[in-house]
Symmetry: C2
Subunit: 197 residues, 2 copies
């Protein structure tokens, strides 16, 4: 309905997650009518990010440096390694400020049906870190989904084979949550994994 170039921009904006045709139209017109500088800036930063952002050599998170901020910080605890699925998970745990070790980002989870095997989640890199002998505890923080649990199981077997202690983050009722509003699956898990006090 718009001119070809504007239609093309609307279509390109739909690559963004959670953006449907109406939002994409609103975004395109907003940028062109009122924020051309912002549009120009977004275009340049996007191109730069696509060109320069790659995976951290050590933990596989996304970064434009050879080593990410966390891996290049020598003052963290070398004995603990936390394994997560995505870079956003690293930020979530960092924000909670309870973990001072290093991370390893799988950038996915084992899912044979989607063709994601040990190689795709960087198991070779992870195995060589296990073999270095510096790590004393591996904390597995993959999501509590079927694939996440399978991934956790697979990694824990590999770590235990190297004599490393393995733990899984706790799942149950969120702090401040009310039982009444918690889903059945979580509640069942919380009861079966109850701990003596």
């Amino acid at each position: 309905m718009f001119s070809p170039l504007i239609d093309q921009l609307i279509n390109s904006l739909r690559h963004l997650p959670g953006v449907g045709p109406k939002s994409a139209q609103r975004m395109a017109l907003h940028l062109l009518e009122r924020d051309r500088e912002g549009a120009q800036n977004l275009s340049e930063v996007l191109a730069k990010a696509v060109e320069h952002v790659h995976r951290c050599q050590q933990c596989r998170t996304l970064t434009e440096q050879a080593l990410c901020n966390i891996c290049s910080n020598a003052r963290r605890n070398r004995k603990e390694l936390c394994i997560v699925e995505t870079p956003a998970d690293v930020i979530a745990i960092e924000t909670s400020a309870v973990f001072s070790g290093y991370y390893f980002v799988l950038l996915g989870r084992l899912s044979p049906i989607d063709g994601i095997g040990p190689k795709e989640i960087g198991m070779d890199v992870l195995a060589s870190r296990f073999a270095e002998g510096e790590i004393e505890e591996v904390i597995i923080a993959t999501n509590p989904t079927i694939e996440g649990e399978a991934t956790a199981h697979y990694i824990s077997e590999r770590a235990k084979a190297q004599g490393i202690k393995v733990s899984r983050i706790a799942h149950g009722i969120p702090i401040g949550g009310e039982l009444e509003y918690v889903d059945g699956g979580t509640l069942a898990h919380a009861i079966s994994r109850r701990q003596e006090i």
Copy 2:
């Protein structure tokens, strides 16, 4: 929290309307983890759009051509001119398929407090179209806000001075709407502007 370039990308994405810090983070990671081609494409189309999209010489809507699709269509009704605030309004009216004349896009509305006067809404261009003598009816479809009404009043005075018939689109209860859920302002307007049947 992320590496500088990723943080910069997240900030740039916040220029998009309706995108807060969480959505911007999700968008940035989605593009970098899973859709680099889409990101590259968006960057290129954005740069091209910022460079080439300007205002249609005749109706002031956004287009990369000298004249937009509608203005360059000689088979429309030259006697009717519909005045709207934004390019999105043109598309909305075109979709309803009840109007076959030409448009004029103000790209805003009179708002002295924001420094938007007759010049900013292209009143000089519009006045010269009124003066051409081809237009028989001007349909004013600015939004029913205080500024939109003031703009409608101002334009109608200018058009009437040239002997052109002026009309305003109808405001009232939306078709298919239920009185119970219509706001008081709309209901008051609908009652005071009731029409004999």
